[in-house]
């Protein structure tokens, strides 16, 4: 179970390769379910040029840890990984990576979706978009 919040851009698939290489569950997982959330160049009908992602240092980590532990209790998984970007980012940038390893696919699918839904509803992150003419806080979490 690993959680990271970072201001630097990250390449999710490179990070997955690196994480798996040092993992102790090689040969035991038959299923990896991965979700990557990326920044789109449009939202709610407007072009978005940049985005600022604020978080609550301490509480954000605490809730990512909490939902990771909940997922591990609910499903028979081998490991999970969450990486979330903060600070300024640009269209096409990865924002979040969630990955779950399990012996079988149902647990991996269920747990990865649970992590994303819970992250989106409980982890304190906030997005502010830079449009051509103004900035605005995102108030819908679709």
């Amino acid at each position: 179970m690993h959680i990271e919040i970072q201001p630097q851009p990250f390449e999710p698939y490179t990070r997955l390769q690196q994480y798996q290489q040092q993992a102790d569950f090689a040969g035991r997982y038959g299923a990896t379910a991965v979700f990557v959330g990326s920044m789109r160049e449009f939202n709610q009908g407007d072009d978005v040029e940049a985005m600022w992602l604020e978080h609550y240092p301490g509480m954000t980590e605490k809730y990512l840890q909490k939902i990771s532990e909940e997922a591990a209790q609910k499903w028979d998984i081998l490991d999970s990984l969450i990486i979330h970007r903060v600070g300024e980012m640009h269209p096409n940038d990865p924002i979040v990576l969630v990955a779950v390893w399990s012996a079988h696919r149902a647990a991996a699918f269920d747990a990865s979706r649970y992590l994303m839904e819970e992250l989106k509803s409980r982890a304190p992150f906030w997005k502010k978009e830079t449009l051509p003419e103004k900035t605005r806080w995102v108030d819908k979490n679709t």
Binding site: Y56, M59, V96, R122, P124, F125, K127, W137, D139, N141
Partner: protein, 79 residues
């Protein structure tokens, strides 16, 4: 332990209140709602405001004490 309560604001609430954090005397705030009133000078709290004490979600009528960290923020939009 400090005899103050730390109050934090995030995102659009930080901008609306005009500060990221402040301290209030513990005696003046018995509940989270009272901490809001004290720290904002009785601003109206936006309807969907989320509240946390010591980094756990709570309700407005949760009791707080000296040394607590109280936070107010809008619905989260990460991921």
């Amino acid at each position: 332990m400090s005899d103050a309560i730390t109050v934090k604001f995030f995102a659009s609430l930080r901008e609306a209140v005009g500060k990221a954090d402040t301290e209030i005397p513990a005696l003046e705030a018995a509940t989270v709602l009272q901490a809001w009133q004290q720290a904002t000078g009785n601003m109206v709290m936006p309807e969907n405001t989320l509240m946390a004490v010591n980094m756990d979600y709570v309700d407005a009528d949760t009791h707080i004490k000296a040394g607590d960290e109280v936070a107010f923020f809008p619905p989260v939009t990460g991921g």
